[in-house]
Each structure stands twice: as C-alpha cells, then as structure tokens.
C-alpha cells in the first residue's frame, strides 16, 4: 500500500526554518567538502572514490515528476535548480541567481543570474527562460507553485540576458523562501512547451542529475550531468555530482526498504520504520527532519455532531494520554505534539500552548457531565437524551496515518472509551480521500491530518473563516471564528517576525482553548545512509534529499 506523503504548501508568508536534527556522520562530513572537486579526497570513512551508483530506497512513486507533491519535489531537487536555496537558520542563499535586490516598497525583486549555465538539453539559462518559468507556474504548470505565489505575483520581465525583474501586487516576505522549494525548479524553455506527458516523465533542467530512465513500478534512474556548473551556495563540494547514477527505487513496504539497506542492496533509505530506529542508529548515519507546518492533529468537526459543544471537545482532549500513546506507538522516535496548529519546527511556535490538556480523566468526566452527557448505556458509553456519545474518527489510512499511527488511534480509542466516548475508527481508502468522501461536515466527527509549510502562515490557510463568497474548504474543523481570522491576518501583515509571532501565538492559543483541533504528533522525515556513503544531506525548506555531493569510500 502506498503511503502518500501529501505535499502541503504554504501560500502565505515568512521565512524561517525548521529544526533539523542531524545525527552522526552527516555533521562530521561537512568539513570534507571543499577539496573534493577533482580527485577523491580522503574522508572519515576511508578513501573517497569517484563514480558509483547510489541505490536509494524511496517510498512512493509519483505518477508525474511535474506536480505539487512532496514526493515529486524530492526527485525534482536533484534534477532541477531553483533561483535560490535556503540555508540553516532560514537564511536565503544564491543558487541560479548569483545575487538579487529588493526594492524599498518590497514589490520588485531584481535577480542577477549566474553566467554560463546550460540546461541539459544544451540551451543556455537566461533571464527570459526564468521569466517563462514564472509564467508557467502562474498558469498552473505546477499547481503548488501556482498557489504559492498566485495572489501576489504580478509579472516577471527579462531586463537583459542575465537580469530579470519580478513584480508583486503587494509585499510578500516569504517569496524567496517559497522559491527555494523544488516546486520552483527552473525548467528549460524547450521543456516547458512539450506535452504534459513528456513534462511528467522527463522534466529538463540544469540540475546535477537528469532522468535516464523511468521503469514505472520499479525505479527512476538518474544519471549525473557532467557539465554541471550551477551548484547552490549550500553545496558541500564544487563541481558536478561525484557519483555517476542515483537509482531511485520505489519500495512502498518499510520493512523491505530497511531490509534492502541491511543487505547492502540499497545505500540509503527513506523513512526508517520506528521499530528499527534503534538498530538503524547503531549501524547507519541517520537523519531526522521534523517538518514545519501543521503537525498531525485531529480536526474536530465544530459544525455537526457532538463536537459542536466546546466542552465535549475539551473533554476529548483531556480524555486520553496522547503523550504516552505516541511514545508507545512510535517507539519513542516521533515526538508528541500538543500544539494542534503548528509543529515545533515551525517559526512562531508557541511551546506554552503545547502543554495544554494533559491527560486528566477526572476533568474530562466533569466536562462531559457539565455538557449534559450524564447517562451511561449498557456498553458503558455516555448518553444524552438517549443518544450515545458517538465519535466517528475517519483517517486517511496508509497515507497520512501509517500503521504506527493506526496503533496510536487504537490506543486512544480505548482511553476515550473509559470516559464514555464510543469512538469508531474509519480507515479511508485513498480513493475515498481523493474523492472528497470525507470532506463534508456530515462525513466525520474528527479527522487527523498534517500540512507541511515553512511558515506559521499555514494558520491562515487552515483557519481562515469560510464565507459564502469565498469558502475555505481547507478549514476541516469547519471552525469559523472571525476573531481568530483577524488575529492571523494581522500576523501576516506584521512588519517584523517578532510582531508576527505574537499574533500567531495568540491564534494558537485561541485554537487550543477552543479545542478546535487536538494535537497528536509531529510529521517527520528520516533517512538512513550506509557507512560507506557520505554527504547525503537534506535541504532546509522541506527536507528534500540531496545526492550531488555524496560519494562512496572504500
């Protein structure tokens, strides 16, 4: 079963960065970068070698390489270059753009491109090519890119071969952060005019690798671009990729991925099964990345059903030991997240909010009594006016909620049962999820979901009050609070990050107080790399794995 990691994007605002927990050798190899351009230098593991093929055990196979999925961005990072890249601490560094200036009114960005860069189809990178890309995004060529800039982007103009100007409708501070994501990889102009099908199978950029062959259902083979000149400022070495090929295998089964790593068939793997975490840490270089944005938390249906009553929602939050359950279900690997609106890796995160609603069955019972759910039926569930306290908890099984997540929900279900909730778990199939079968107020009472984004501006996307004229279908709690809406809007237009964070903290408090959502755990991404492979790293905007600096040692 494929486990889709849905790409979650931020349409609005702000820079800043996620915490990345780099472990073991990865940090050590940072020093071995510079001297490696020509012959293989020596590194901690042994003699560095040029060439070789990295077998990367990835998870889900996307249907198309030009789209808005995170899984697509992971691949695109290695074949496309973006204008800028994000470094530690959220700073923006040059990539295809050697430098840039921003006008005083924050409405005009002028980029100066690196000279001598060529796409892999031989055409040169020039300002017009980048302008074409902006127009392509705006047209919807990449849906995620489109919605990330759409309300702000006005036009892009090539000034000369190496200079272009991007004009905005209104100030948009997160623009550069957004542009750092692989959704904004620059495609060759020839590539843009091809059919959707060709664009899907083989997007042409100026990256360190290009698509050699895509054996659907099995693997995507990337081959090194020998003429690569446009590495980003954050690169660990100067020059084309050191390995010859990256064999991007699609293995949906985590057990099989880990087995491939242990048998040496794969040199790196995506998403270590939590049960194998300890052994993986002992034998391999393990990197974990906590995704910024909305963590995995339960949307509570405030429009229909038992959760229309805030006391019942609060009782639900008090009624289970979520922290202990997350600890057990994820074997202590994935952190509990008590803040339902933004993850601990998100700038503007309010840690105080996260500690609300500790496990307190007495409090939960008291709240339910107050709410009038005083009866108990034969099965021990609470009733009110003869109606059982039923909660339909639907979850996108296999995609958003993995097997471990399902175990977590089952543990919670038993605890909720103790205080009188009859929670029915409803696994959604992917077809149902996509069809929107669980998107209406009558289709569920609670539903867990996450939404990756580099910024707390994600709050606006999720919690913006829905109006007739401008419905917000992303507000899956159907929670329309105009006060909350205006607090978030204030945050978005604040002049400084400090001011913005205050507003965002206020918003987080409102959501938590109202229990419009209930926090569960952080969305994380992890990779494990074999001991003889070095300098595989995750970029900062959304944890895309980077292979151009990687090399083997004997």
């Amino acid at each position: 079963m494929s486990r889709t990691r849905f790409a979650r994007l931020a349409a609005a605002a702000i820079t800043a960065l996620s915490v990345s927990a780099l472990l073991a050798a990865c940090s050590a190899s940072g020093g071995a970068v510079a001297g490696l351009a020509g012959s293989g230098g020596s590194a901690s593991g042994g003699t560095a070698a040029k060439g070789g093929t990295i077998v990367y055990a990835a998870e889900q196979e996307p249907p198309c390489l030009s789209g808005g999925w995170l899984q697509e961005a992971y691949i695109d990072r290695n074949i496309l270059d973006s204008l800028v890249t994000e470094a530690s601490g959220g700073s923006i560094k040059p990539w295809l753009a050697a430098s840039w200036t921003v006008s005083k009114d924050d409405l005009t960005y002028t980029f100066t491109l690196k000279a001598g860069v060529k796409f892999t189809d031989g055409t040169p990178l020039n300002a017009q090519a980048v302008v074409d890309n902006f127009n392509y995004w705006e047209k919807g060529g990449n849906s995620t890119a489109q919605v990330s800039i759409d309300p702000y982007f006005k036009k892009a103009v090539a000034l000369d071969a190496t200079h272009l100007e991007v004009e905005l409708n209104k100030p948009y501070l997160p623009l550069l952060t957004m542009l750092a994501q692989a959704y904004f990889g620059i495609l060759s102009p020839a590539s843009l005019t091809r059919s959707t099908e060709a664009q899907c199978d083989d997007p042409i950029g100026s990256g360190a690798f290009e698509v050699k062959q895509w054996i659907h259902g099995q693997e995507l083979i990337l081959v090194k671009n020998p003429n690569y000149t446009s590495w980003p400022a954050t690169a660990l070495h100067q020059g084309p990729a050191i390995v010859n090929e990256v064999d991007w295998k699609f293995l949906s089964d985590p057990v099989e991925r880990y087995a491939a790593l242990t048998t040496g068939e794969a040199n790196a793997m995506y998403d270590i099964p939590t049960v194998d975490w300890t052994s993986a840490k002992a034998s391999y270089q393990v990197t974990r990345y906590i995704t910024p944005g909305k963590p995995v938390s339960l949307y509570m249906n405030t429009e229909n059903g038992p959760f229309t009553d805030v006391q019942v929602r609060q009782a639900f939050a008090y009624g289970s030991d979520r922290k202990a359950a997350v600890q057990t279900a994820f074997h202590g690997v994935i952190p509990y997240e008590g803040n339902p609106s933004v993850s601990q890796a998100t700038p503007g995160y309010d840690a105080a909010v996260a500690s609300a609603y500790p496990y307190d069955p007495a409090k939960a019972n008291q709240l339910l009594n107050q709410a009038g759910w005083t009866g108990r039926d034969a099965a021990g569930y609470r009733t009110k006016n003869g109606k059982e306290l039923d909660v339909k908890l639907a979850y996108p099984a296999g995609s958003v909620i993995t097997d471990e997540g399902a175990t977590l929900l089952q543990i919670l279900q038993q605890q909720w049962k103790q205080i009188g909730f009859n929670v029915t778990l409803v696994p959604e199939t992917q077809a149902e999820t996509f069809s929107g079968a669980y998107s209406t107020p009558t289709s569920y009472d609670a539903q867990p979901w996450y939404w990756t984004s580099p910024s707390a501006a994600i709050l606006w996307i999720v919690w913006r009050p829905s109006t007739k004229a401008d419905p917000n279908y992303s507000n899956s709690s159907f929670y329309n609070n105009t006060q909350l809406g205006s607090v978030i809007a204030d945050g978005n237009t604040a002049a400084t990050t400090g001011a913005a964070d205050k507003y965002y903290a206020q918003a987080q408090q409102i959501i938590q107080n109202q229990a419009a959502a209930v926090g569960l755990y952080d969305q994380t991404m992890s990779i494990a790399v074999a001991g003889n492979l070095h300098d595989v790293w995750l970029e900062k905007s959304q944890g895309e794995p980077v292979f151009e600096d990687a090399y083997f040692t004997q």
């Binding site: 079963m1 089964d253 985590p254 057990v255 880990y258 087995a259 099964p273 049960v275 194998d276 202990a324 359950a325 057990t328 279900a329 099984a397 296999g398 097997d403 471990e404 399902a406 175990t407 929900l409 089952q410 543990i411 279900q413 038993q414 029915t424 778990l425 409803v426 696994p427 959604e428 199939t429 077809a431 149902e432 079968a437």
Partner: protein, 287 residues
C-alpha cells in the same frame, strides 16, 4: 418362488461399512474446527482477557506462558485477539461462500435446466464475470463502498461465484441425465417435483466439499485484502488485519506475523481436510 436370502446387510456388517475411516488428519482437523467453533460462539471460554484491552507497560512481549502468542504494539494479548477474531474471519468465510453459492445455484440451475438462450446468456455473463478476479473485484467494490466486513463478503462472494456457478451447472447437467431422473419422470412425476426432490439435492451433494474448501479460501482472500490496506477497520482482530499489522514487525517481533498466519493456515487446512473427507465419503456412498 424362492425367497432370496437376506444379504449381509446385518447391523454388524453395516456398521463396519459405515465405519468412519479414522485418520489422524481428520481427527486433528475436527479438533481444530471444534476449537474454532467455540471461539466463534463463546470466545470468553478460551481466554479471560479482552481483545481490545491495551497495556502500554507490556508491548511487544514475545510468546510466554501468560501470553502464549505474545503481545502486540499496544500491549494487547495476541492470543486473545486471535480467538476473538475467529468470529469475523469465519463470518467472512461463511458469508462469502454462502453468497457465492447462492448466486451460483441460481445461475447454475437456470443455465443447466433452461438450456438454449438462457444458458448461452448466463454462460456469457459468467465469462465476463471470470474476467474479474476476486481481488480486482474487491478493489473496485471497496473503492465504491469503502472497506468493511460486508464489502469483503460481497467482493469475495461475487468474485468466487462464477467458478461455483460453472460447477453447479456441470452438476445439473450430469444429474439431469441420470437414470433416476428419467426413472422419476417415467413414473409420472412432474418437472418441478423431479427438480425439487431429485435433481437439486443430488446435484448439490458433491458441492458440500467445495463449500468447505471455499470457506477456507475466503478467509485466505480476506487476509490478502487486508494486506492491501483494504481490510476491516481497527481495532477489529480479524485475522487478515492481524497479519497486515504484524508485517511491520516481521524482523523484530516475528510472533505478530507468524502466529496469526499459522492460525489461518491451520484453520483453512482443517476445514479443507474435513471437506475432502466428507467428499470422499459422499463419493464412496454414491458409488
């Protein structure tokens, strides 16, 4: 006129003829099925624990005296879950096979008895149905109706119906031409009387064994659906669901995958073995 001596059909001889050829396999199979039936009817007789009671202090314990099959990732006793899962798993097996047989009997008898155009139309319909293997049908149905026990029963039932329908039709054709059918007609019995009193019971007799095979196979199919993430909703201890959730632990906590697997195999094997014993007996009796 000489009275012919009564043959050795005396009580003793008949007893010897009727005597069940007791084989070890049959005995073991019967025992397993017996335990299974207890698990279905009164699971509490076999375990004092609850299948959903979690115990975060005792997760992933290997098999021991107090937890014969070990515990799972939520600290639930796996043995208890397997015992309680019997009802749903067997329900899927019986339900799917029952549904399949129901469809098969209608189509098989209509085709076999009516012949001509009706038979041709049914044969075509069956051919189209054959193009939908069980799993393909299940995928489609689950996409339409969402995963549930009912969907699994319907999917596996409809998926295996064409095979049964062909068997029923074959049986109807074979029995239709049997001498005793002709004999009943020659005695002056009406068409429906002959069908009801002779054709139906005799055509269905050899299918008793097929039905028991089908029950085992349906359980096995249901576990395949669970593997594709299309099984019944948690925390149901349905066996296929147990297998699916155990997969992640195959290298670290083997019992979560192996124990339910062994139980599924043993049950399918026992039901099948009993079915075959029954088949051999029925065939022996018919000869």
């Amino acid at each position: 006129m000489t009275a012919v001596a009564v043959p050795r059909a005396g009580a003793l001889a008949r007893l010897r003829e009727l005597r069940f050829r007791v084989q070890l396999g049959t005995v073991i199979s019967s025992l397993i099925v017996l335990v299974l039936l207890v698990a279905v009817v009164a699971p509490a007789w076999l375990t004092h624990r609850s299948p959903t009671a979690i115990d975060l202090e005792h997760t992933l314990l290997p098999p021991s005296l107090s937890h014969p099959f070990g515990t799972d990732d939520a600290g639930r006793d796996l043995y208890t879950r397997v015992v309680y899962g019997a009802r749903e798993s067997l329900g899927i097996g019986l339900g799917a096979t029952g549904l399949a047989m129901g469809i098969a009997i209608i189509l098989g008898f209509a085709g076999g008895l009516a012949g001509g155009l009706v038979d041709t139309v049914i044969a075509r319909v069956l051919e189209v149905a054959f193009a939908f293997p069980v799993l393909l049908l299940a995928l489609l149905l689950i996409a339409i109706r969402g995963p549930s026990v009912t969907t699994e029963i319907v999917a596996v039932g409809i998926g295996s119906a064409p095979g049964y329908a062909r068997m029923v039709r074959g049986q109807v054709l074979a029995v239709r031409n049997a001498d005793y059918i002709t004999a009943a007609t020659a005695l002056g019995h009406g068409r429906w009387a002959v069908i009801g009193r002779h054709l139906f019971p005799n055509a269905m007799r050899p299918l008793v064994a097929v039905i028991t095979l089908g029950i085992g196979q349906s359980i096995v199919w249901a576990s395949g659906l669970a593997f594709l993430g299309l099984g019944v909703a948690p925390p149901s201890p349905e066996w296929g669901a147990l297998l699916d959730s155990g997969r992640m632990y195959i290298t670290t906590s083997w019992w979560l995958e192996i124990m339910p697997g062994v139980v599924i195999v043993l049950v399918a094997l026992s039901v099948t073995t009993l079915g075959r014993t029954l088949q051999h007996r029925l065939e022996g009796a018919a000869r």
